[in-house]
Symmetry: C2
């Protein structure tokens, strides 16, 4: 049966509303999850390790009657190194290459943010100091969604930033450890690995327990319980964005092999039934060829069922007037992944203001970026690229302002501050400035 | 009656727990506010201008029976310029000086973030593009807490970043406009001023209405309704941090005029009964002199009652062993405002990892920074300086990754990506990379 994918044309009268309906996604708030998470957070905050131990034994079905102490969940550096050494050569080398490339890109990010100071004529010094966070927690999902590439993408920017303590938590359902995930931790600069997960792991990282020191920020993807827990501890610690379903938008001028574009759409759709894959193209005949490729290639895909549902429910093939219009629509969609699969892609990239990552030219498949180009694969979803950025070194650094006013500076600035402070009715502010005047008022 | 301020000594056995208790602050969640805000957001989303008009007329007690259309709430650029021209000369000049200095500092921030690209040996180009947000909303409180300095501090970084549309909303209870706030808008680069406020203004900015285009991010302080509304629209739009009570931590070596330090503590305490002012000093005799100054200076303060409550409930004078210990405690407090009022302050500043803003030397009173030094006065509160930064140009910019893989690059990267994708069970990812190989597999 052919894939029933939505087809739109930008010249149709109801195009804007049809596109909006396609893009609309509202994460459903699940009261049962919220209630469960609230209880787990409070319990871990109150009882510490004892609570984490109980929840982990129960939820992760730890075998042999469960662990008897938190020490059982610590993975030694030796075990991490052994996991790395134990991988097939090709896999180990691929992981190492990916890690090296991700590190190089993120070192460029770090170079960009150095802080600054400048000195004014009267000797007043102003500036901005950049410091790494002291400690972060990296959440890594366990079980079927255990992705070593996520370990690299979350931990390496923290390591490059200079974060001293990088604690990775990863649940091990039924006590089974994913060797590739442990190997990734070994090469990403993770300082401690603990095999716990769920809301209880988030609580342990945020509040600290007898055996786990509270961190300053928690990043990394997780299920609905983890997402709810991260939202709730935000403020106590920093968190990264709560990601929505993954998306790809392919803008194609009709010059790329349609099989390539079809497979790129599949690579997003295979993630999840809620994932979204959309093609914008000015060439109706080409769109028909991509659709033929989709139907031709689908049967060979191990995840065909997921791909079909994703493309049927949330995918679209969109005929646009021209590439300029495609770029304008791409800006309104502000996609997580934007492929500009075209001749001279830079001319179109220059018109793009909003996208998590731009993949330019027909050789830049999203999958290359997902694993090993170097830029991060943690990207803003659900149109949040309008106001947010890929995960980066900057997420593991923060700035402090530096203000060192000279005695001379206090004379001129003091009068300005006092004038404005009186205007706002804040007399102590005004007096505090005036006391520093030589002719103290 | 002398101020009953808490006195602590770092050598006392229960110092850590006493300090933690002092710092503890949990914003109470108010169910009535949450319920009201949820209803207002939904109503504005559904009914647009009509709902905003009704809520504004009611909550802000707009006179003469209320406004009959949204147009009544728009403030023309002419009216903004007239407000600026109408200020007393000294006030107008002070505002202009402050704005100029804030702009200069934030232009330095902008220079720091330019994005980058680099080209690899095989022609693959990687990089990061920095773009301003398209549009932002600036929330400015009305009534007694109407601060023109906040207009400058929120709008100028957006303007420097290159944001095209800067919409300021400010409620005008009883229809009364604050001329200094309008004047600040005139010089800060605000493109539109609308005299609406509360959750209804946040909803209008986030969802858009017939007369207000939805923005990409909302920043600026507000009351509990505004904070609750911002939390709820987060994700639809970006928001800045939800600020807790303001704090000052003064680290003093005992060489500053105690009146100056006392007034600096007042300048924080006068904001709010929940504001927190703490002194750390190794010199017990000096601490006693500061306490004497507090009691001497309090009666002349117009906001004496607020100051007294703040210092009694949340303030502290803390005797420490030495300045090194003071710096260590300052790092654990991670204060919004940190004054290092000491000889050679830089030696201590070098030891500080966590603070919103550092004020170095005895002439750098916090009040100078609040108004006119140049750095932003919107700073992370409640220990969040461990992981977050002052409001800055970077809050109005975002990054997009650039990935332009050459044909040669696709050959090497494709094999790495495919290896890892198969390892993660994502076959379409692997195939998408492999299709680009010359010897297509």
């Amino acid at each position: 049966m052919p894939i029933q994918i939505t087809k739109l044309d930008s010249s149709q009268a109801d195009f804007q509303s049809a596109l909006s309906a396609l893009l609309a996604f509202e994460a459903s708030a699940d009261d049962a999850i919220e209630t469960a998470v609230t209880a787990i957070l409070a319990d871990v905050k109150a009882r510490g390790d004892a609570a984490v131990l109980e929840y982990t034994n129960r939820f992760d079905r730890i075998p042999y009657g469960g662990a008897t102490s938190m020490a059982a969940f610590d993975v030694s550096q030796e075990e991490l190194q052994a996991a790395l050494a134990g991988l097939p050569d090709a896999q180990r080398q691929a992981l190492q290459t990916a890690a090296d490339r991700v590190r190089v890109f993120h070192q460029r990010q770090k170079q960009e943010l150095n802080g600054f100071t400048y000195t004014e004529a009267d000797g007043t010094v102003l500036g901005q100091k950049v410091t790494p966070l002291d400690s972060v927690g990296i959440y890594v999902p366990g079980g079927k969604a255990a992705y070593p590439s996520s370990v690299l993408m979350n931990a390496i920017p923290a390591h490059v930033a200079g974060v001293g303590e990088i604690i990775m938590v990863v649940p091990t359902p039924d006590g089974v450890k994913n060797q590739m995930v442990l190997a990734a931790a070994a090469i990403a600069g993770v300082t401690r690995v603990i095999t716990i997960g769920g809301a209880q792991a988030v609580a342990a990282l945020a509040y600290g327990t007898e055996t786990i020191t509270a961190v300053d920020k928690i990043v990394g993807p997780g299920n609905a319980y983890v997402a709810a827990a991260k939202r709730r501890v935000f403020g106590v610690v920093g968190i990264d964005m709560i990601a929505g379903p993954s998306e790809i938008l392919v803008v194609c001028d009709g010059t790329t092999d349609p099989d390539w574009v079809a497979m790129d759409l599949f690579s997003q759709a295979e993630h999840d039934e809620l994932a979204q894959a959309i093609l914008l193209c000015p060439d109706a005949a080409y769109i028909a060829r991509v659709e033929a490729s989709l139907n031709k290639l689908l049967p060979a895909m191990p995840r065909a069922a997921t791909i079909r549902t994703s493309l049927t429910d949330r995918g679209a093939l969109v005929k646009v007037r021209d590439m300029d219009e495609a770029c304008a629509i791409a800006n309104s969609i502000a996609a997580e992944h934007l492929e500009i699969s075209a001749e001279n892609p830079q001319q179109w990239a220059d018109k793009i203001r909003h996208a998590g990552a731009m993949f330019l030219g027909r050789f830049s498949s999203e999958s290359l970026g997902d694993y090993c180009c170097g830029p991060n694969h943690v990207l803003p979803t659900s149109r949040t690229a309008r106001f947010s950025s890929p995960l980066g070194v900057y997420d593991f650094q923060k700035r402090s302002s530096i203000i060192h006013v000279s005695e001379a500076g206090a004379q001129t600035l003091g009068k300005v501050a006092a004038e404005l402070a009186y205007g706002e009715g804040l007399q102590a502010h005004a007096r505090s400035a005036e006391l520093r005047l030589k002719s103290a008022i």
